[in-house]
Amino acid sequence: MVKKKVGQVAMDEKDEIQMLFERRNGLNELAKILTADNAALYEKLVKDMGETQAKFQGWWDRMAAKYQWESQEGGNWEINFDTCDIYLVLP
């Protein structure tokens, strides 16, 4: 695996994606214990997972357009929450 720094985002932009990242993790782990028996909550979870994932992808799309980071086939970007740095990760 190769990691290369390709850019940086602003602190408030980092906060936004970190919150979405945390929320997505929370929803995923909640999904492990919630069953369809609890219909109302289950529906709320499914809806939230969809919305959060869309916001998550939307953030990367917006930032990629804004900062024009280097990309490569088969690679993906990663963010370091401590430094706000963006890395291109290649397998």
């Binding site: 919150m19 945390e22 929320r23 993790n25 929370g26 929803l27 995923n28 782990e29 909640l30 492990k32 214990i33 919630l34 909550l41 709320k44 979870l45 939230d48 401590d82």
Partner: protein, 390 residues
């Protein structure tokens, strides 16, 4: 800033560590589920009183993993309720554990870890080499050392949490083993060793000199062995040993009062150290309970604490005050009157010894880096320890 909320799920433990501050451990006081649920409901009902952006749900004992079924139930309820209520903590929470590691490999604990892995922070306490660890961390009853039962779980733990750190406690008898213990923990693959001297008045004449000698030897070993690049030991810090100003550097060290602890009876405390099982001399400092809520007046002294108001003159004038820690609970327990405003100073000579060794460490390391023209890369990549206050 995260709110730390501690569930004292049990006062039982397999071990009877000689330095343990929990003087009232017992196998009877286990938290019933109903108490845990009421505590959670109370806390989540009072979102406007707890505005911290994040929360750390902390589980402590005794040994918390003795109550893994209860913990699992609590965590499931927390996740569900934070989500159901649209509580802001659903976006930023952790489940945190300080464990002796003995039950770490069991099926129940492992199932729990798999279920909650992204939100877990688990610290296993291993004190160093076998002889150092077994000096204090012994089984209750037969008194045999627990090293082997803990060490066998370290590889699994590090596989699951590669960045995990351990917490080492130093008492008078441990001083001769500090260097070998820290190096041993590094050799096990633990990159972050959070280590501190107990705050209690256990120190004997000459301990400070021995301590300084051990830390100096440890400094040599870390620098000469190149460990400083990837490993951290909290004894050595760049922010240590300067005088402090009473106006601009007056913050309290300890987070008691900003934290919240609840025990099996449903009583709330400013920190676990104020529960009766932690106190030798004083009465528990209860700030409320799950039925009547929190008495905010009982929290005011904690939230008003500053460094200089609670410190004796010798600490205010101390030339090496920076980094000298205290535990509010120990201050309270050791005070001449029932107050949290009298700072205990049993650690004074040990801190000064640490400062001398710390100065040696950084002088030696920076000189080496300069001679090797390696200061800049070191600054960019140096390990960032996450120091624990207590």
């Amino acid at each position: 800033m995260a709110k730390n909320i501690t569930f004292i799920v049990t006062k039982d433990c397999q071990l009877a560590c000689k330095y343990c501050y929990l003087v009232g451990k017992n196998s009877k006081e286990r938290m019933p589920w109903e108490v845990a649920k009421q505590a959670i409901d109370y806390i989540l009902d009072h979102e406007s009183d707890m505005r911290e952006a994040s929360v750390v749900w902390d589980f402590i004992g005794g040994e918390p993993f003795l109550e893994i079924d209860l913990i699992d139930q609590i965590c499931d309820y927390l996740k569900t309720e934070m989500f159901r209520r649209n509580h802001h903590w659903f976006n930023s929470y952790r489940f945190s554990f300080s464990t002796n590691g003995i039950n770490y490999h069991t099926d129940k604990v492992q199932r729990f870890i798999a279920k909650n892995h992204e939100h877990l922070s688990i610290g296993i306490t291993i004190d160093g080499t076998e002889r150092k660890h077994d000096l204090n961390r012994i089984y209750k009853g037969d008194g045999r050392g627990s090293y082997a039962d803990v060490a066998r779980n370290i590889p699994l733990w590090l596989e699951q949490f590669p960045h995990a750190g351990t917490k080492v406690t130093i008492s008078s008898e441990d001083i001769p083993y500090i260097k070998e213990s820290v190096l041993h923990l590094y050799s096990l693959g633990i990159h972050e060793v959070n280590i501190n001297c107990v705050f209690e008045n256990v120190w004997k004449p000459g301990d400070d000199r021995l301590f300084e000698e051990q830390l100096t030897q440890l400094a040599d070993a870390i620098i000469d062995g190149g460990y400083y690049r990837d490993y951290a030991c909290s004894f050595f810090s760049e922010h240590l040993g300067k005088p402090l100003d009473c106006v601009t550097q007056n913050q309290n060290w300890c987070g008691a009062g900003k934290m919240l602890a609840v025990d099996a009876e449903g009583n709330f405390y400013p920190c676990t150290r104020f529960a009766q099982y932690s106190l030798r001399e004083k009465k528990a400092w209860i700030i409320g309970n799950i039925r009547d809520g929190i008495d905010k007046n009982k929290l005011r002294p904690f939230l008003l604490l500053d460094r200089c108001t609670q410190s004796p003159r010798k600490c205010i004038d101390c030339e090496v005050a920076e980094g000298c820690a205290w535990c509010q609970g120990e201050n309270y327990d050791a005070a001449d009157t029932p107050t949290i405003y009298q700072r205990a100073t049993a650690i004074c000579l040990m801190h000064k010894a640490r400062v001398r060794a710390n100065n040696y460490y950084w002088n030696k390391l920076f000189r080496k880096l300069e001679l090797e023209d390696a200061r800049e890369p070191y600054e960019e990549n140096k390990p960032k320890p996450n120091p624990l206050n207590c």
